[in-house]
Point group: C2
Chain length 255, copies 2
DNA sequence: TTGTACATCTCGGGT
DNA sequence: ACCCGAGGTGTACAA
């Protein structure tokens, strides 16, 4: 018999295994509260001594271990990893393996305070506005936001050494490279723009580079000026967005 | 009376509020399984239609909303945010506010399947090895890994337009800039190195730039060669690391 | 699979 | 507070 949600406080070893097996078989999200140790080896290598953590295992293989602070998990495994429950010396270990790159995460459950699962149904996707892509859209709709006579020609245009956000021409026919940033632009952003401008100047003459962002860091401003590049202030737009959701019913097939 | 863990499946409105209040007052980690809607506005703006999600609220104000896939939360609030429980038209809303930048996250709990909390105690910190900082350490211990006669002088050295990973001299007395990457280096890494080399060449002559990494992307190799910069293959070392943990007992004060 | 760049990036360290 | 760069970054998208 299948339940959408199950939770057991202070479960026995047998209950832990039974509930985890059940959760894995029905592709539920698993949540554990546990005193545990964690070992990781792969791109790097880490060890985390015993402590209380929240463990989440998602049906796509994502594996998260959260301490009581910070937004980021202290250890994790990305989607596509394969989890297994291992019994070793009467201890329960959770092991998650990823291929390519080869990475292993092991959690030694010393004491489990709660084991729970949730057969989540979710057909909605996030509708987000205020991205860099929307800045580009805005500029194509209203090129004079950059300057009078600006004509955008390409979006996400691959060139010699990278991909230019927006490529266009100014009223004098100069080639113009725009590098867009949705937030305050830093040295990285200037270097990026410089790389594109340099690459294009090898093939064309009269190439201008404009960094388009809400603001600039002090260092970015200095470097931008030294390199003879320009800055145009522009905020990412917050638009009304249609919500995206996967089709749950098949009503588009109805008569 | 205080419990370390509490969990209630299919809680009533009153139970939800009671348990959440309790959890907040004892600084526990809260976990909810809920069918909910989510609204966010701040640096960007987003909306997420109804669906089943796992919600985590940490004592430092971190707020995570996870769908059943992906490592990343679909919505979140960083540490330092302030959460409150709001009753609106008999609906329970969770609201989290961050100042600077001003950001608001709102979760409308349509149906709550589970509410739980965990008074987590954790004095351990992650001990990780294989970082870029350890590559730098390795090079200072064994400079010939770069080349015969190389002498490292500075680590994390601030220069005109940025901070150089390692600055040194080669056997001929040339200034050498190292840019270290713990993983395959890309165009971005080359741009970074180029920026440092350019800045130093304004003040010194005979400046070499070496990108030190396990490998290079095709594009990075091309750009590196075009710019007359060099590459040295080096993997980040995986060392034995002492585990870090905050002192729980005060035994260092003992006789 | 690899390459490229964004991200409500987060996080830590320095000034 | 701002600035700067690393990260086991993750994620999407294109070639």
């Amino acid at each position: 018999m299948s339940m959408k949600v199950e939770a057991k406080v202070e479960p026995s070893h047998e209950e832990i295994i039974e509930i985890l097996d059940k959760a894995l078989s029905v592709e539920a999200i698993i949540t554990l509260f546990a005193y545990c140790r964690v070992f990781y080896e792969g791109r790097a290598k880490s060890e985390l001594g015993p402590g209380d953590r929240v463990i989440i295992i998602k049906p796509d293989g994502s594996f998260l271990i959260h301490q009581k602070n910070k937004r980021e998990p202290v250890n994790w495994q990305p989607p596509g990893s394969v989890v297994s429950i291992v019994l070793e010396d009467g201890k329960i270990m959770l092991r998650s393996v990823r291929r390519k790159p080869k990475e292993t995460l092991e959690v030694e459950l010393i004491k489990t305070y709660l084991v729970s699962y949730f057969q989540a149904e979710d057909y909605e996707e996030l509708a987000l506005t205020g991205s860099e892509a929307e800045m580009a859209g805005l500029i194509f709709e209203n090129p004079s936001l950059i300057e009078e006579g600006f004509k955008p020609l390409f979006k996400e245009k691959p060139i010699k050494h990278g991909i230019v956000d927006v490529l266009g021409r100014d009223k004098d026919g100069n080639l113009v490279v725009l590098e867009l940033k949705r937030r305050r632009a830093d040295l990285h952003a200037v270097s990026q723009l410089k790389r594109y401008v340099d690459a294009l100047r090898e093939e064309y003459k009269n190439v201008r580079g404009i960094l388009v962002a809400p603001s600039l860091t002090a260092g970015a401003k200095k470097l931008l000026e030294k390199e003879g590049l320009e800055f145009k202030k522009l905020n990412p737009p917050k638009r009304e967005k249609k919500k995206k959701g996967k089709q749950k019913t098949l009503d588009f097939l109805s008569p």
